[in-house]
């Protein structure tokens, strides 16, 4: 629910943000993978 609100605020402000959610094992795994990818890119 909140993720949708963030998307709309980003759109209004013409800004971009990565939006993740964690509510169960699947979304936890996906979010951790995304965060690791992002960190890897920053370090690389």
């Amino acid at each position: 629910m909140l993720s949708g609100f963030v998307k709309k605020v980003c759109k209004k402000k013409n800004m971009e943000a990565k939006i993740l959610n964690i509510e169960d094992e699947k979304t936890l795994k996906n979010s951790l993978e995304e965060l690791n990818k992002y960190n890897g890119r920053e370090e690389g």
Binding site: M1, K8, K13
Partner: protein
Amino acid sequence: MKIGFIFPGQGAQVQGMGKDLYDKYEQVKSVYKKIDNAVDLSLEDITFCRSQEELNETKNTQIAIFTMSMGILEILKSEGIKAQAVAGLSLGEYTALTYADVFSLEEGAKLVKRRGELMQNFVPDGDWAMSAIIGLEDEEVEDVCNKVCEENENAFVRAVNFNCPGQVAISGERQAVQKVMEIAKDAGAKRVVELKTSGPFHTEKLKDASERLKDELKNISINSPKVDVIKNINGEKYMAEDNIKEILSMHVINPVKFSKCIESMLDMGIDTFIEVGPRKSVIRFCKKSM
């Protein structure tokens, strides 16, 4: 990467939420046990075993959502993932403040339990309703609420949750809420959705609950936030000079400006938002739509 955690409020709850994480992670179980002991309830029973209807009771909903979010935060902590800023929607602000060490886990849980009880038990007699108006500007919704109150002597309805551009929740007497829904629809609202809530939350009708919560807060130890926490009442971060107890007691009778909270986080450079907790959509928890 600058991370912001955002925490859901009432309405996001789903029976069985977080069960797989509870089963797999010892640190999540540990959070449930600590909170069970602090509030003298079984959150496992409330969240995993009872019916959706029972979970939807405000006294159960608030502490159950808080507990689930705090459990997930323990997993993130063990993964070394920290937030630079946090915010929550209504009840979620307590989760944000607990993450920021303003309260201990146990004291945060006790407060949230009490808040839920007060918001359930100190609703004045009446037929109350809340609704989400989707597709109108904030000011348009406020104007419609004012118009309905002006034209009907005893009508009571307020715009109370400014969630994001084009989505505002209203709260008040059922008849007045329904009138606003009708006018909003005629004025071009894309959708109007009655919400499953039991009281005129975030309005002055919760004054008794607010005063009792103020008494509860007198006995709680408060620390300065360890990370930036953004306030619902104005979308600005808590400052050292803020009277947190006063702000929280007023929280239940004041509008929630969540949209402004997100704007502030973006302005602070937050580029990665993580929603921590259940996220049942506003559309799925609707009771009926027009």
